[in-house]
Symmetry: C2
Subunit: 160 residues, 2 copies
């Protein structure tokens, strides 16, 4: 299958939004996506975009995306976070995911970061095996902690 | 104990670096810190700083720090990452950690983020209990994945 990997443009954001929803459904969290196409455009374009988006295109159709942004580690300095790597169900098995992954790693090298990092669900064995083959490190002794907006508001009420 | 919480200045970065090293030693990774004081200044100041640093001060001595930066979630949009929350050993037990934590949460609210997130080591029960009391969510089914600089270079050699 012929495909191209390139930077996303504003007009791709509707298709990217659809892919984000597809991944959330795959991860058993279909209602977790509260972001809109407009917010993707707002946060991903302009002078100081919060993220960089690559897309995979087949015959002018967006069939995959990789979304990354810079982070900061007090141990290692500048790092790159891989937020999402998505290939639409019917386009899997053609090397598109690997091409997007490679694009991210080339981007990381070019930007001279000291680390690339991301998270993976412990039951997503296909993804875990794919990452393992590329020589990464899995850190299983760290837990993710999140305080969402409602929890934040509640907490701030208790301390005021 | 009287203390003040404020934004860090350039001249505080040496003390902040020392606190970062103290935390790494506490987390059994004393050699993990490769960042220098100069890199902290480079990345944390200027027009587009990679992070925001708060410090706790007692009689002009920096005894604690909280380091945060913005992230982007494809589900929730703009979020805040709490990279480090450190109080020097001899200054613990006086509420300085809680004051830094509260400063971070007020900052998150002011910046209108949809989530605050961070990671914690699974054996750090004191920290976990502290976070629990503030009403956060722990996500134990996600694994952290990291590709460090050397792994990145090796991987890129295999795909070229």
């Amino acid at each position: 299958m012929n495909f191209t990997i390139r930077h996303a443009r504003k007009k791709d954001m509707q298709a990217v939004h659809k892919l984000i929803c597809e991944l959330a459904a795959f991860e058993n969290e279909p209602d977790a996506v509260t972001i809109t196409k407009e917010t993707l455009i707002d946060l991903g374009t302009g002078e100081n975009p919060l993220f960089t988006c690559f897309v995979a295109e087949v015959h002018s159709k967006i069939v995959g995306t990789a979304i990354v942004y810079f982070r900061f580690s007090t141990w290692k300095g500048k790092s790159l976070h891989l937020e999402d790597l998505i290939v639409s169900q019917e386009f899997r098995g053609f090397g598109i995911g690997k091409a997007l992954y490679n694009k991210v790693m080339h981007h990381a090298f070019k930007e001279n970061v000291n680390r690339v990092e991301w998270v993976v669900l412990d039951w997503n064995k296909n993804a875990i095996n794919f990452y393992k083959k590329s020589g990464v490190t899995f850190l299983k002794d760290w837990h993710l902690v999140q305080m969402n907006k409602q929890q934040l508001v509640t907490y701030l009420e208790t301390i005021n």
